[in-house]
């Protein structure tokens, strides 16, 4: 869907300031921008429809590549290796809610905080009948030592070449310098019910996803 530029259709974002700021429509500054809110450090919830007050985008700034996975859609299946080198498919989880969280890198401070927060709330996710899957571009051995070091009870998948990240259209931060931190909640039918993006408040991913899971 490329004809309409909306809140959910963008692949790259510009972060003009490192200081936390409330979500607001951003004026695009390059050809990779789209009209409305982008990945921000302070969090962006895509479960709401695009605001009518979003600023219109000059046609020269419309992105030619759009996010392929939006709320209400069934994301494309993938098969990736887990921390033990085993192939794991998303399709295997159909029939139960799944939290798929994409993060930049094992061992980085924010990714560690996020993983540990998922770990600490894992019982709540299990109680909601949900599985948690973490995905980054690191290889299986990196995932294995990351999972072992922090006693992570959930699956970490290795997205070699960041293929799935690109396929799902997860926006980057800082003019493409950082892979975005974005979490999807899929319901039992495999339909996306929440997309939450927040690069530097990683613990909020857990709060937002649990909030939604409890309403499913």
């Amino acid at each position: 869907m490329a004809s309409t530029v909306s809140m959910t259709t963008r692949t790259q974002c510009s972060i003009p300031s490192l200081l936390p700021s409330p979500s607001k429509p951003r004026t695009p500054a390059s050809q990779s921008f789209s009209s409305s809110s982008h990945s921000q450090f302070h969090g962006l919830n895509f479960s709401k429809p695009a605001s009518a007050s979003a600023a219109p985008v000059p046609s020269s700034f419309k992105t030619s590549i759009v996010a392929k996975v939006n709320k209400g859609q069934v994301p494309p299946n993938f098969t990736l290796k887990d921390q033990d080198g085993k192939a794991v498919s998303l399709a295997k989880y159909k029939g139960k809610p799944v939290v798929v969280y994409f993060y930049p890198a094992d061992e980085s401070p924010s990714c560690t905080k996020q993983a540990c927060a998922f770990r600490d709330s894992y019982e709540k996710f299990k109680k909601a009948g949900a599985e948690v899957i973490g995905i980054s571009g690191d290889d299986s051995s990196s995932h294995k030592s990351f999972a072992k070091k922090y006693r992570l009870p959930f699956t970490l998948l290795s997205d070699e070449g960041n293929k799935v990240r690109k396929e799902w259209g997860i926006p980057s931060d800082l003019f493409g310098a950082l892979p975005g931190r974005q979490t999807y909640v899929l319901d039992k039918q495999g339909v996306v019910q929440l997309i939450y993006n927040n690069q530097f408040q990683p613990e909020k991913h857990i709060d937002e996803t649990l909030k939604l899971l409890q309403s499913l």
Binding site: A105, S108, P109, S110, S142, G161, L178
Partner: protein, 303 residues
């Protein structure tokens, strides 16, 4: 390991980067050496697939002197000479700024420029400190000796309080002398000179501020304590946080005024992520510190 390399920990403070001592200190040496070198595979920009492992070269920590009178902590005439040169350079810059300002009847702009020099020196000290603490090792060209010195400082932070004044400052003083003198010879603008003088002076004395931040309150002059409490100089508490796990905050050591802003907004974390994704190098702070960096709390100093 040679006596010279042992001596590196004994004779060099974190501010010393380019000066090598060659005096032998009669102490016993560790007899076992452990070296671990891992392969660092940089990011392939085509695949965006990162396979990197931390590069570690750990050596058996050298035995350190346990006396306050160790020669490695004393100032030499060479140290004093460089500190005197550095101070003269800074004072000349400030004096020339004052004379220039008086001649054109301005004062606010040079004073403001000087203030900006003080403010930005704190930021500069933090960025440099962050780089040295997280990247490279003893074999890094140009910076290896400083990285090693900072490693030694993290292992024995109290040593800096035992260094004599010129011993602590001479390396920074030399850098200031070489970099500032050309500027003040060609430039007569009082605003520029005011900034340069204050910036370089604060950088040169940052090692002294750093040493004071490691001292106990009872051993410091009342004026220094007052300046620390007022936030003019980096405080003991703020800098102590830097020496506690996860060792990734409070990098600034002039006034520390930037520390809260930089840490609250995760500026260094952002930089670390960018460096990692662009160059494939993980900072040391992402891993548990090895014994070479962890404070040796068992080491005692005797007087």
């Amino acid at each position: 390991m040679s006596s010279l390399q042992h001596h590196k920990f004994l004779s060099r403070s974190p501010g010393q980067g380019f000066h090598h001592h060659h005096r032998v200190i009669p102490i016993r040496y560790a007899t076992s050496i452990t070296t671990i070198t891992c392969t660092l595979i940089k990011d392939n920009p085509n695949s965006n697939h990162l396979v990197s492992q931390p590069q570690r070269v750990s050596r058996a920590p050298p035995v350190i002197p346990l006396t306050a009178n160790d020669p490695g902590l004393k100032s030499t005439w060479s140290h004093r000479g460089w500190v005197a040169t550095g101070c003269a350079t800074v004072l000349f810059s400030l004096a020339k700024a004052a004379v220039g300002a008086a001649s054109v009847h301005i004062w606010l702009e040079p004073v403001l420029a000087g203030y900006m020099g003080y403010i930005l020196a704190d930021l500069g000290s933090g960025v440099y400190h962050w780089g040295i603490d997280n990247y490279g090792d003893a074999s890094t060209p140009g910076f290896g000796s400083q990285i090693e010195a900072f490693q030694g400082h993290h292992k024995w932070p109290w040593t800096i309080t035992r260094r004599e004044f010129a011993n602590n400052l001479h390396s920074l003083a030399r850098v200031v002398a070489f970099s500032v003198l050309p500027v003040e010879l060609v430039c007569s603008d009082p605003v520029v000179l005011g900034f340069v003088g204050m910036f370089s002076g604060c950088i040169m004395f940052s090692q002294q501020f750093h040493a004071w931040a490691h001292s106990t309150k009872s051993k410091l002059p009342a004026a220094v304590v007052a300046l620390q409490d007022a936030g003019v100089l980096v405080s003991r508490g703020q800098h102590a946080d830097h020496h506690r796990p996860p060792y990734n905050n409070n990098y600034c050591i002039v006034s520390g005024i930037w520390n809260d802003l930089l840490d609250r907004n995760k500026v260094f974390e952002v930089l670390e992520m960018v460096v990692y994704f662009k160059l494939g190098v993980k900072p040391r702070s992402w891993s548990d510190p090895n014994s070479a960096w962890t404070e040796d709390e068992d080491a005692e100093i005797t007087i």
